[in-house]
């Protein structure tokens, strides 16, 4: 319980720090929306002051921060001037798309990384290991941007994959199965690219964690008792190696979110990252800040999930 409460406090502190930072950014930004009203000769400066007071803009900084935080907690993230709607619903759909993309990519990356990492740890310094090492090193040096551009080129040249968006124009919204397969088809390229971008880091960590466990005396003892190799590997070694890997799952989410920005923009996936860049160009500051907040909520949620998994997987933490 102490463990969980500590993690929760950490998560809340992180969110508070980011919210404070976001709000401070809003304040640093030169001018606000109402300053442009002052330029209108038909609106008197008293009217502008009254509206400002109505929105609480004449109060001191801590009060405004508290007001803003209260609003954000109730889901009121401000108003998007560029698209003339509340920020909440606007980023809701985009957030769903980003979660879909990063979730699929995370699952895909781990599904690939676990067998490769375990395999190369089991066959350490043999051909398989060397080949995996070479492949991951090569992948590590390829910038994410180049990887996504190359995938886009593949899609544009061959026409095997759709080149952008989430659904095709011909998609029939009413049929669930049709929409599902259409979205899945559009998801292939960005999710695969993201998974490839994450793969080298994951494989290296899986391999290192497994090697550390395989060198432990209890593994040799298990082998000495005649327990088959595969059983030792998956039933004895893997659970022990899972602790650092679950922690890595939490940490890798931050990288995943950052990388997915590039993937979303290059491969035109309508997610948070793409919306963020559009909003920066439209000077739509409330949307930008809302996205920063939301992405950190995702991060914190992912980290908490990893902590819960850790609690389930590692008895040492439970008895602490």
């Amino acid at each position: 319980m102490r463990y969980l409460s500590r993690r929760l406090i950490h998560a809340i502190l992180l969110l508070l720090a980011i919210s404070f930072f976001s709000f401070a950014l809003l304040q640093i930004a030169p001018g606000d929306y109402f300053d442009s009203l002052r330029l209108n000769p038909q609106i008197s400066s008293q009217t502008v002051d009254r509206i400002r007071a109505q929105y609480g803009l004449d109060r001191p900084f801590p009060v405004r921060y508290a007001l803003w935080l209260g609003g954000a907690l109730r889901g009121d993230l401000g108003y998007s001037l560029a698209s003339n709607s509340a920020v909440g619903p606007l980023i809701g759909i985009r957030a769903r798309n980003t979660v879909l993309l990063s979730g699929t990519a995370t699952a895909l990356a781990w599904l690939l990384a676990l067998p490769i990492g375990i395999g190369s740890a089991a066959k350490r310094r043999r051909t398989v290991d060397r080949a995996a090492e070479l492949a991951t090193s090569a992948l590590l040096t390829v910038p994410d941007l180049l990887l996504f551009l190359a995938l886009l080129l593949l899609a544009v040249r061959t026409g095997w994959f759709p080149t952008g968006g989430m659904t095709s124009a011909a998609n029939d919204e009413s049929s669930f199965w049709g929409t599902f397969t259409d979205i899945a088809f559009h998801l292939v390229l960005p999710a695969f690219g993201l998974a490839l971008a994450m793969l080298p880091m994951l494989v290296r960590h899986v391999r290192a964690a497994m090697i550390e466990v395989l060198e432990a005396p209890f593994v040799r003892a298990a082998r000495g008792h005649g327990i088959p190799r595969s059983r030792v590997l998956f039933r004895y070694a893997l659970p022990v190696a899972s602790n650092p890997l679950i922690q890595l799952l939490g940490f890798s989410l931050a990288t995943m979110l950052s990388t997915s920005v590039i993937a979303e923009i290059v491969l035109s996936w309508p997610g948070l990252g793409a919306l963020m860049v559009e909003s920066i160009f439209a000077r739509d500051l409330y949307v930008v800040v809302a996205i920063v907040m939301l992405s950190s909520v995702f991060l914190v949620a992912g980290n908490l999930l990893a902590d819960l998994l850790l609690l389930a997987a590692d008895p040492r933490i439970r008895t602490e």
């Binding site: 502190l13 910038p143 080129l153 931050a254």
Partner: protein, 343 residues
């Protein structure tokens, strides 16, 4: 190859690379902003020694280009026009390493012919020259931001590891916050509050400052670890017994033991920051036109027709691979080497 040899080779090649970028003005045949509106999207020129008649030329040469609407690139090589490469030619004025004015360029062809080793972009600007000049912005951003991060990291790591107690607690908890931040989003957010079109050097300094301030947490943790174990070493305890001050101990005995970690982190952080700058400029949020950076050279690839028709527009991205390879090789070799020293 032992790590020692790998390290030497990587550092040597990195030095060569940085020298090429530093002397971009001399190596590049043209200025980064000089346009050739009649030669837009010209394909890269190959350097030949043997012409179509099988004659061997003493001086390397390139063929001229002529318009050809039938060719997918819009150009055709003109074998009748041979432009020999000349070396140390006079050309557009530039400043050696940004300081001394000069006009000599390493190579070039006689005007009105042009030589484009990596082709040209939508304005007919030489991509080779732009790649070299762009490296000045991108690599400098990476180097400076890494220096900022490591300066903070050394200060934080030394304070936290040496004094322990509440200082350690506060600094390391703050570090954990920074480790969990979605840093690319934050970088975007900071960029968002500034006007879209501000002077190039302002964007540059801002990028460096934000990237540097966001990335200190990981190296700080590692340096703290080294400081923790180093301050219990016998010779450090002996020096303290002789009355050495904290400052002397840290500077003379403890921090030198962290030099391996610091160098390794430097080799890891630089490519990471270069990549961040590349990403921002690719999106049009970094250094603005006409100043090139490695990212802005790639931004035209966001248009499908550029992407699918002009393969040489990919070259700047492909050339980033060996740059990053060298940095990662250096980081790996450094890590191996200092691990073996500590044992």
């Amino acid at each position: 190859m032992t790590p020692r040899h790998t390290l030497r080779l990587a550092v040597l090649l990195l030095a060569v690379l940085h020298a090429l970028i530093l002397f971009a003005g001399f190596i590049a045949p043209y200025d980064f902003s000089s346009q050739n509106r009649d030669l837009t999207f010209a394909p890269p020129a190959l350097i030949h020694f043997v012409d179509t008649h099988g004659r061997i030329h003493r001086r390397p040469f390139v063929y001229g280009l002529r318009f050809d609407a039938l060719d997918p690139t819009g150009y055709k090589i003109d074998p009748s026009q041979i432009d020999p490469l000349e070396f140390l030619v006079a050309g557009a004025p530039y400043k050696i390493a940004g300081l001394f004015p000069a006009t000599r360029h390493l190579f070039g062809v006689r005007a009105p012919s042009r030589v484009f080793l990596m082709g040209t972009d939508a304005y007919g600007r030489d991509q080779f020259s732009r790649f070299l000049y762009g490296g000045q912005i991108s690599l400098l951003a990476g180097l400076l931001a890494a220096a900022v991060s490591l300066t903070i990291a050394v200060a934080v790591g030394a304070l936290a590891g040496y004094y322990r107690g509440w200082i350690d607690e506060i600094l390391m908890r703050t570090g954990e916050l920074f480790l969990a931040l979605p840093w690319l989003y934050l970088l975007f957010a900071v960029r968002a509050v500034l006007p879209l079109h501000i002077a190039g050097w302002q964007v540059f300094l801002l990028l460096v400052a934000v990237m540097g301030l966001l990335g200190w947490a990981r190296p700080a943790r590692l340096i703290r670890g080294v400081v923790l174990s180093a301050k219990e070493r016998n010779f450090v305890l002996a020096a303290r017994g002789f009355g050495a001050s904290d400052f002397y101990l840290l500077g003379r005995h403890i921090l030198p033991q962290a030099s391996g970690v610091i160098l390794t982190q430097l080799a890891l952080l630089i490519p990471q920051y270069v990549l961040a700058e590349v990403t921002l400029s690719f999106l049009g949020l970094g250094v603005s036109e006409p100043t090139p950076s490695w990212g802005s050279l790639l931004s035209s690839l966001q248009q499908y027709y550029v992407l699918s028709s002009y393969w040489w527009m990919f070259l700047p991205a492909v050339l980033l691979v060996p740059v990053f390879l060298l940095y990662y090789a250096a980081a790996n070799a450094l890590q191996e080497r200092f691990r073996s020293v500590q044992l």
